[in-house]
């Protein structure tokens, strides 16, 4: 992939910013011993709410969900900031955001207990961040600037 200097800079910054956000969300949950996704899951609405409620209803499953969520966020965050295993991190991030969106889609007639900090109709920041990750997937930067370059190489010829 051949980028201009500014194109590359914009993509790299987008990657780092989204990574930063994931990392912080994950760490905040990790250090709070009482954090659990239960409230969020129970507040789920729309067609997949049954699935999310069932995750919350089983204490065993809930622990697994909490663990995967916290470490998923942290690893995706590190992956994006450092550019390590960037593609899988991008996909992982999209999957997490997809779950968040589908559990709480801001559709007409759906009201949530957890108040949202902005005004959304169908599109919210989760969805936008998910599409941001899609852009990063299609326009990768990890092998140009990131640890992936050291691990996998640039994957291209010496002359561009």
């Amino acid at each position: 992939m051949k980028y201009s200097k500014w194109q590359f800079t914009a993509l790299l910054l987008l990657r780092v910013l989204i990574g930063w956000h994931f990392l912080y969300e994950g760490l905040v949950k990790l250090i709070n011993p009482d954090w659990s996704s239960i409230g969020y899951l129970l507040d789920s609405k729309w067609i997949l709410s049954g699935f999310f409620h069932s995750l919350a209803a089983s204490p065993g499953l809930l622990n697994v969900v909490d663990f995967l969520n916290v470490w998923g966020l942290i690893l995706v965050g590190l992956g994006l900031v450092l550019g390590v295993f960037t593609r899988i991190s991008t996909v992982g991030g999209m999957v997490l955001l997809g779950f968040y969106y589908l559990s709480h889609p801001p559709l007409l007639n759906l009201e949530y207990v957890l108040p949202s900090e902005g005004s959304y109709l169908i599109v919210n920041k989760t969805l936008i961040e998910m599409f941001g990750l899609w852009v990063l997937y299609l326009f990768p930067t990890g092998r140009i600037m990131g640890i992936d370059r050291i691990i996998f190489g640039t994957g291209k010829s010496n002359k561009q």
Binding site: L42, V113, M145
Partner: protein, 522 residues
């Protein structure tokens, strides 16, 4: 971009340029780490300073362990209506039809945990040996519940175990009954408790404790003289957050509490005591004479039988039914006792169905010795709930299933901390969510939000605990141990007198006072 590229990665040539490009974003992680560390340090400092200042921790309030329940207690139920059935369930016995309905509901909706929770409810080692109800259909349901030891549905062929007694006096004579649960309308509470006490039976009686002032005194005397174990049915005594609220008040988090606002808001016919009237019910299966007793000579009326709370002959209106719960919650936290004065007003503004008791009603209780006012207001025709709020000079407390203390921006105690930024008047000072360990003034507003709506801790561990069950359990524990239950006759006396002051004030349209020396209302 033209450069010396590392085409093969680790296998390829690793020069300085490739290394630098590979690690180029590491400084972002460094910046993140610095930001993280600084934020953590600040949070820790604020939290530490705050907790030190408040002296509060997030541990659950101490609840003494139960004594051994080796001894089986043999119960009788007087009044197996809606509340009576709930109390008996709290003791472990449910009508098979109800269990069947719960089982089926759980099959349709896996979130419906009523059946699962009831199965998980602790076995209290009790027997239900006597059922007394003036309405045949309810008595029969109670009998079936008594035999449902295994908590089964209608398919299990449950048969009655208890004996049915036509009158409560006969039930009280039974040798195989140690203790009675009284869940009749209010007009029978006092006499039944007196008779039970004289028969040496322990008593759990529903609130409001008494219907009239006069009957309150002999009831208290009978309980005290007999030495029976008495519990009044304010199950809010078991609410963990109220116990924690007491600790917060004792530590002075609110400063001088000068105004307490409590309320009731309902907006349904059922909430306004327009209960369903059974189609099968009639003079042939309701012992109207016994229901009325010496308290009313009104001819048979299905409406009065099923919706008795709407008439002064049988009930105590908002005062005894709902104000008492709010009062008892506050009395539990502050040991308020009987007010110096009470003035109340209200009217029948929405449910103009022939009732005598008001549907919008308020009472103001003054406690000059405590420098505070307790204000209760209720509407049965608006669900705009205002919660329980304790207001003090340094902060206020919102109380429900969870507890939140807010600092007052003009507080004296917190003035310096507000100035230093340790306390933000816009954020809660202290948050307590039963079952949770953290005290977090910063991030738990959301958690409080969920908990206040009963969403948060209901499913953790997959089990809910019913306060009614806990209140019955405490009573049974005290029967075995000889200790006093939390809502004993002294607490009951304060509840009854307060409720009666409010009723007298409303019905006589005057301000009333309590004379503590003569123990009378003037």
């Amino acid at each position: 971009m033209t450069m010396e590229d590392n085409k093969q990665g680790l296998l390829g040539r690793m020069d300085r340029r490739n290394m630098l490009k590979g690690l180029a974003t590491v400084p972002f992680l460094g910046a993140f780490a610095i930001g993280w560390w600084r934020k953590r340090r600040k949070d820790h400092y604020l939290q530490h300073s705050l907790l030190k200042e408040l002296g509060m921790d997030a541990s659950a309030p101490y609840i003494p362990p139960s004594p051994s329940s080796d001894k089986t207690i043999r119960l009788g139920i007087i009044g197996y209506g809606g509340r009576g059935a709930h109390l008996v369930r709290g003791a472990g016995f449910a009508d098979p039809e109800l269990i069947q309905a719960w089982k089926e509901a759980a099959l349709i909706d896996s979130d419906d945990k009523r059946y699962e929770d009831f199965l998980a409810q602790e076995d209290l080692n009790v027997e239900l040996n006597g059922v007394c109800d003036v309405y045949d259909i309810r008595a029969e349901r109670g009998l079936l519940a008594s035999g449902n030891v295994a908590r089964e549905g209608t398919d299990a062929g449950v048969t009655p175990k208890a004996r049915r007694y036509r009158t409560y006096q006969e039930l009280l004579e039974a040798d195989d009954i140690d203790a009675v649960i009284i869940a009749t309308p209010d007009h029978w509470h006092a006499q039944m408790t007196i008779d039970a006490a004289m028969a040496g039976k322990h008593v759990y009686v529903e609130k409001g404790m008494t219907r009239t002032l006069e009957e309150t005194y002999p009831m208290v005397d009978a309980v005290k003289e007999s030495g029976i174990c008495f519990q009044l049915g304010h199950q809010g005594r078991q609410t963990e957050s109220y116990l924690k609220a007491r600790e917060a008040v004792e530590k002075g988090l609110l400063g001088n509490i000068n105004l307490i606002e409590v309320c009731t808001n309902r907006n349904t016919p059922n909430g306004a005591w327009q209960y369903e009237i059974d189609e099968e019910a009639g003079p042939h299966n309701i012992d109207w004479k016994q229901f009325s007793g010496p308290y009313s000579d009104h001819p048979f009326s299905l409406e009065r039988y099923f919706r008795w709370r709407c008439w002064w002959d049988y009930g105590t209106g908002l005062s005894g039914d709902l104000f008492t719960h709010e009062y008892d919650a506050i009395n539990q936290i502050l040991d308020l006792g009987i007010p110096y004065s009470a003035v109340s007003s209200g009217g029948i503004y929405h449910f103009k169905d022939g009732r005598e008791v008001p549907d919008v009603w308020q009472v103001t209780c003054e406690y000059p010795a405590r420098d505070l006012t307790l204000l209760y207001s209720a509407s049965l025709a608006s669900s705009r709930n205002r919660g329980k709020v304790l207001m003090g000079h340094d902060g206020h407390m919102e109380l429900g299933n969870s507890l939140t203390v807010w600092p007052d921006r003009d507080s004296t105690r917190y003035a310096k901390m507000i100035e230093k930024g340790i306390i933000d008047p816009e954020k809660p000072l202290f948050n307590y969510i039963p079952g949770k360990k953290n005290v977090d003034a910063v991030s738990s507003a959301t958690e409080a939000y969920f908990a206040g709506r009963g969403l948060l801790y209901t499913y953790r561990g997959g089990r809910r605990v019913d306060t009614t069950h806990l209140h019955i359990k405490e009573w049974l524990d005290c029967i075995r141990s000889g200790q006093q239950p939390s809502c004993n006759i002294d607490q009951g006396f304060q509840e009854a007198i307060t409720a009666q002051m409010a009723i007298i004030s409303y019905r006589e349209n005057r301000k009333v006072y309590w004379d503590p020396d003569r123990q009378i209302i003037i």
